[in-house]
Amino acid sequence: MNLDAATALAWLRAFAGLVDERAGELTDLDRPIGDSDHGVNLQRGMHAVVAAFEQEAPDTAGAVLTKAGSTLVSTVGGASGPLFGTLLRRTGKALDGGDLASALRAGLDGVVKLGGAQVGDATLVDALTPAVEALEAGRSPFEAAEAAAEGAASTEPLVARKGRASYLGERGVGHRDPGAESVVLLFTALEQVAA
């Protein structure tokens, strides 16, 4: 799958819209196992991204994602700011000319390098990894979103090993990771604009 600047912009705007819609839910997921702010954090960041694009929209898809990533880094804070920011920035930098799937792989690698989480640690990596793998295997954004959703659901029975949920030990079991759920929204947004 290749991405033009307009589609990249539409993707991020759709993601911002979904985050707006679901911010309360994301924060509620962060309540039992975290510090009740994930939805608020991501919403603050995506508002800033949308506002930045209203000022000036870059003219390549790579620049769009890179700009979105650095805006997230500069406005979100918390764990999700650097992680989502790195995901989009690395993806954007790897994108130009090339294929979205392999660019997202570079983004995923950046997230793993930065945060040190592996699949099974009950973080956003658990949703991001299968989604990227789906695209790499040539499956549709719809299927990638489905894979992300399965990955997010798979965090529920786990004892978290990274992020705040890890402080809870066994008490965190039975809760879905909020960051993983945001990744589902990112791929749902992609599916919306690719359709």
């Binding site: 309540r31 090993r161 402080y167």
Partner: protein
């Protein structure tokens, strides 16, 4: 239980408004209301190592209340319970820099670690040498290479005070950082909540705590603790003291040690109660053969309006005690000057 109304104007502006208040009553500080960075307004010796800390807001007086002579040079204040972004930490780093390098004192949370790390890279681009001291003093969390590790909590105060004195004394950046790692290795904390707290703008507390129960092993972000137990009918403070000191002693044997002790309120517990807890903590330490060299009792590292307390200790040497006793002049900690 309906939450008590907050004394704020707009929850979204809580941090800006609080910093405005800090600026209004502390003209000796320099407060950047856009970046949410608080720094010393006075001249510092060229080459003095700069000390920067920061993190989410909601822990007042930590960190902005510890900016001043003998302690931090600058603090970066994130949104409530959200670590600051790299831009803020970079701004604080620049404000703290007098040419001798800067030490970042970072509480060990993924968000703080990542944002400070990115800021350190940006500072490096501007030729400011940055060393990082990671504070992970909370014994409630099992430490492991494969997890996020222990949280940084009350022990941060020991690190900031001791390093502040060391930097004033003229230690070099690597020495200050090494000393910081030593202080961290000597510091342990354990906290208990008697009520949850609610982030401004939220309509729900971070967790529900039924009447008659308390959370053991809490962090400082309104998150639940490791265990929930019934509040005993009598001897509540004794039970809290015993639990906290036992957890600490198990991890870092306290017998024959001279200690800095912090009996720290989480924000909503009155001093009368903290003093009762302090009596029990001192008795408990005494029973374990430890000696209290210096102690502080009050709200220093808080979690909004949470009721409860945290016990922090740091084993000392005569040199560390001398640094602890050195003059400090900040909004929240002041002596000798």
């Amino acid at each position: 239980m309906t939450a008590v109304a907050k004394l704020l104007d707009d929850p979204a502006d809580a941090v800006t408004d609080a910093l405005r208040g800090l600026a209004a009553v502390h003209p000796e500080l320099s407060v950047d209301l856009t970046q949410h960075v608080v720094s010393r307004g006075d001249e510092r010796r060229p080459g003095k190592v700069g000390l920067v800390s920061g993190g989410g807001s909601g822990h007042e007086p930590l960190h902005a209340g510890f900016v001043g002579l003998g302690m931090l040079d600058a603090a970066a204040c994130g949104a409530v319970f959200t670590s600051p972004v790299p831009d803020q930490v970079l701004a604080a780093t620049k404000a703290a820099s007098s040419g001798g390098g800067v030490v970042h004192i970072v509480k060990n949370y993924t968000g703080d670690v990542l944002n400070f790390q990115m800021a350190a890279e940006l500072a490096d681009d501007e030729d400011i040498e940055v060393e990082t001291v990671l504070v992970d003093d909370d014994v409630a969390v099992t430490d492991s290479l494969y997890t996020a590790g222990r949280r940084g909590t009350g022990g941060t105060l020991f690190v900031e005070k001791v390093l502040g004195a060391a930097a004033e004394k003229g230690l070099a950046v690597a020495e200050v950082a090494a000393l910081g790692r030593d202080v961290v290795s000597r510091s342990r904390s354990f906290g208990v909540a008697l009520s949850p707290c609610t982030t401004p703008g939220s309509d729900q507390p971070g967790f529900d705590l039924p009447a008659g129960e308390m959370e053991l092993g809490i962090g400082i972000h309104g998150e639940p603790g490791r265990r929930r137990v019934p509040v005993p009918a009598t001897g509540v403070a004794r039970e809290v003291a015993r639990t906290a000191v036992a957890a600490i002693d198990e991890d870092l044997p306290l017998a024959h040690q001279d200690l800095l002790v912090l009996v720290n309120g989480m924000g909503g517990t009155p001093l009368l109660e903290l003093q009762v807890l302090a009596a029990d903590v001192v008795a408990e330490l005494d029973a374990r053969g430890a000696r209290v060299a210096r102690a502080l009792v009050g709200n220093y590292v808080t979690s909004l309006e949470m009721a409860g307390a945290m016990v922090s200790v740091c084993t000392t040497t005569p040199e560390l005690l001398e640094l602890w006793d050195a003059p400090v002049r900040t909004p929240a900690l002041r002596w000798g000057v």
